[in-house]
């Protein structure tokens, strides 16, 4: 600390001194004169007492003035200093807006400077503080809205930061997790191993499955040594959905390969037979060609259905919705399929009640749903069976039903028959592609409806689907 002596503080004293001396110089001759005059008149020794009294008096007055001035100034400055101290304290407590730096700080330039400096510091600190707060808010907003989990642990393996995605992942709450060990929070040895490995080393990535919730995670461990000594960050990416899609895709590819192989193998066998000499036997050759034609039809149907399915799934298929009577839809389907049913020895009946509200539907697509469902029903209903088409109103929608008394669907297959390529009974469904019901589901869902099945083995099946009714009454 610099130790300096400010001459300026002597000014009041010099002033008083000069004033005292001046007073002395002014009054002394008068007193002196009267003292000596008296002495000359009385002839006695001069009495110096009044002289001394005068000097003392002036000195005492000077001293008192000096003290008063000193007290006044010191007090004023102390007041200002106290105010400044209060302001500094408030600054320390972070109450920037409440800081009052006294305006009147007296005439000492040092204190003025101090006050100005304090004022400036308050302003700057407030700015910096606000900037930091904003940045922190921004960072924590980013962290909390990230879909990836973030966890930061210190060198002792205690959790220091956990964002909300990570909270959800490990089913913990921030307050409970902070300060706890990584084992306690994450509860998985692979993650603890990853933390230990990356703590002092290179970044590392692992793929893992998280416990009985079967979540598939990709976890990256990164040491933050450079910026935050001892800290390690773990980033969690939830790949569960991707993983499941991957499985669906794999199943799909394996199914489609299988489905395509069967007709192609058939074609190959027939063409080989033809090449091996069957060609020279025209009646046999003709039979084989009819077979080939059938197989090609099957293939074409499958490829068309696949294309149709992918179009509907991608939402690219154009639907032309219009207000239409439900009974009209049923009647069209009946007309188209009646002959086929008769051929198979199955009785197809339509039974549509009056007074149903019109629905908003694409008639071509809905008749495709009916055809697929009736086609299935014919296939799985033995000779002499019955298929009934009906509909009724349920709240704001119309429920359509295709009911048969055929072989039914086994309980284990019920959930899956709407999946692509799923065939409940491979032996019986033979020629089908396994795509029909999948297409039905997509068409119904594109209408904003639902499709489901109720069935009992050997007692028949009931396929239901709904189409939203249009507002307003019947079509006139």
């Amino acid at each position: 600390m610099k130790s300096r002596f400010h001459l300026r503080i002597l000014w009041p004293f010099i002033l008083i001194l000069v004033a005292s001396l001046a007073a002395l110089a002014l009054l002394l001759p008068l007193v002196q004169g009267s003292v000596f005059q008296q002495a000359a008149e009385t002839g006695k020794q001069a009495n110096y007492a009044p002289l001394f009294a005068l000097v003392f008096l002036i000195l005492a007055i000077g001293l008192i003035f000096g003290l008063l001035i000193n007290i006044y100034y010191t007090n004023q400055h102390l007041n200002v200093l106290e105010d400044l101290t209060d302001a500094a304290k408030e600054l320390g407590e972070g109450r920037f807006t409440e800081i009052v730096v006294p305006e009147d700080v007296g005439n000492l330039p040092e204190i003025q400077e101090l006050a100005e400096a304090l004022q400036k510091t308050a302003l700057q600190t407030e700015e910096q503080f606000n900037a930091l707060t904003k940045e922190q808010a921004m960072l924590s907003a980013v962290l909390d809205h990230m879909t990836d989990g973030v966890l930061i642990a210190d060198e002792n393996g205690k959790v220091q930061l956990l964002n909300s995605a990570a909270e959800r992942l490990f089913k913990v709450e921030n307050e409970q997790a902070i300060g706890r060990s990584v084992v306690e929070v994450m509860r998985h040895y692979s993650l603890v191993e990853l933390w230990e490995k990356t703590k002092n080393g290179n970044p590392e990535t692992i793929n893992m499955e998280l416990g009985s919730a079967h979540k598939y995670l990709q976890v990256v461990g990164i040491s933050l040594e450079k910026d935050l000594p001892g800290r390690t960050m773990l980033l969690f990416q939830d790949l569960t959905q991707t993983h499941q899609l991957e499985i669906v895709r794999r199943d799909f590819v394996s199914n489609i390969s299988h489905e395509l192989r069967t007709p192609i193998a058939g074609l190959k066998a027939i063409s080989e037979t033809l090449l091996d000499g069957a060609l020279d036997d025209p009646p046999a050759a003709r039979k084989f060609l009819v077979h080939m034609d059938n197989e090609v039809d099957n293939l074409t149907q499958m490829v068309n259905e696949l294309l149709e399915l992918s179009r509907i799934e991608a939402g690219r298929s154009n639907f032309e919705f219009q207000r239409i009577e439900p009974c009209l839809l049923i009647h069209k389907a009946y007309d188209r399929m009646n002959l086929q049913a008769e051929k198979a020895g199955v009785v197809l009946t339509e039974d549509c009640p009056d007074g149903l509200p019109p629905v908003l539907a694409d008639p071509v697509r809905i008749s495709q749903v009916f055809i697929n469902l009736i086609h299935n029903a014919i296939k799985f209903t033995p000779n002499g069976g019955h298929i009934r088409l009906t509909a009724w109103r349920d709240d704001s929608k119309v429920v359509f039903l295709v009911q048969d008394d055929g072989v039914g669907v086994a309980k284990k297959d019920l959930k899956r028959i709407f999946e692509r390529f799923y065939k409940a009974d491979r032996a019986r469904s033979g020629g089908g592609t396994g795509l029909g019901l999948s297409i039905c589901r997509h068409i119904v869902e594109a209408h904003g409806g639902q499709i489901w099945v109720e069935s009992e083995e050997n007692a028949g099946s009931q396929f239901f689907f709904t189409v939203p009714a249009t507002a307003g009454g019947n079509i006139a």
């Binding site: 084992v183 509860r187 998985h188 040895y189 416990g211 009985s212 919730a213």
Partner: protein, 227 residues
């Protein structure tokens, strides 16, 4: 010895227990997964990994005994350490169950025996989820969870019953499946026992917090397993 060191030691042991728990939990899930995928390599991996669990079991046991010897814990600390000694053993046993399932998975890898795998997976998920939460309740001293988790044991028992019946029906219809069916019964038995061990862990939670030894109602007969 200072209080600080005892606390530190207890926390270290606790973390080790949780780590062992996670190894065991994953071993059960992996063994059932290997069974589902008929993957003998994965099954063998689970089988061999049991050594890791056993090593952990011994390390924890040593750690706890050394803490007893050097820190002379009292009251709740003593209860907690003693309970961890017991939980440690329960976890090691569950690890053995996983090993048992892995062994069956190896035997069944090349067979085409129809395993009721969905139900078994459901059972494994339930049992490991109970295990996971019971250890969470253990370190948190959460007696509410400790009382509610054993109630889920009924669901495990129900699954056991339904799978068991299914397997036995299969055996009656087709006696060729008796051998492999029996193997699968071992799998579900091990999963059922896992859930029972979880109940024991929950009993320890109540012991730590209140000092009372409770017995949660476990429906099956404990003696059968101890012969």
């Amino acid at each position: 010895m200072s209080r600080f060191t005892l606390d530190q030691e207890i926390r270290l042991v606790q973390d080790e227990i949780l780590l062992e728990g996670s190894l065991v939990e994953q071993a059960i899930l992996n063994s059932v997964d290997a069974l589902q995928r008929r993957d003998s390599v994965a099954a063998r991996r689970v089988y061999n990994n049991d050594r890791k669990i056993n090593a952990k079991h011994h390390a924890i046991e040593n750690h706890i005994l050394i803490t007893f010897a050097t820190q002379s814990p009292l009251a709740s600390d003593l209860r907690f350490l003693a309970a961890m000694l017991e939980v440690n053993t329960e976890l090691e046993r569950i690890g053995d169950y996983a090993k048992g399932i892995a062994k069956v998975a190896m035997r069944l890898a090349d067979s085409d025996y129809a395993i009721p795998i969905r139900e078994i997976q459901q059972m494994a998920d339930l049992a490991t989820s109970m295990l996971h939460r019971s250890l969470g309740a253990f370190v948190a001293g959460d007696t509410v969870a400790a009382h509610s988790i054993p109630e889920e044991d009924n669901q495990v028992d129900e699954l056991y019953e339904s799978i068991y019946r299914k397997i036995v029906e299969g055996m009656i219809k087709n006696p060729d499946t008796i051998d492999l069916g029996n193997q699968v019964v071992w799998v579900i038995h091990n999963l059922e026992r896992t859930a029972d061990r979880v109940t024991n862990i929950c009993e320890r939670v109540v012991f730590i917090v209140s000092g009372e030894s409770v017995e949660f109602d476990v429906t099956d007969d404990e003696q059968i397993d101890e012969e």
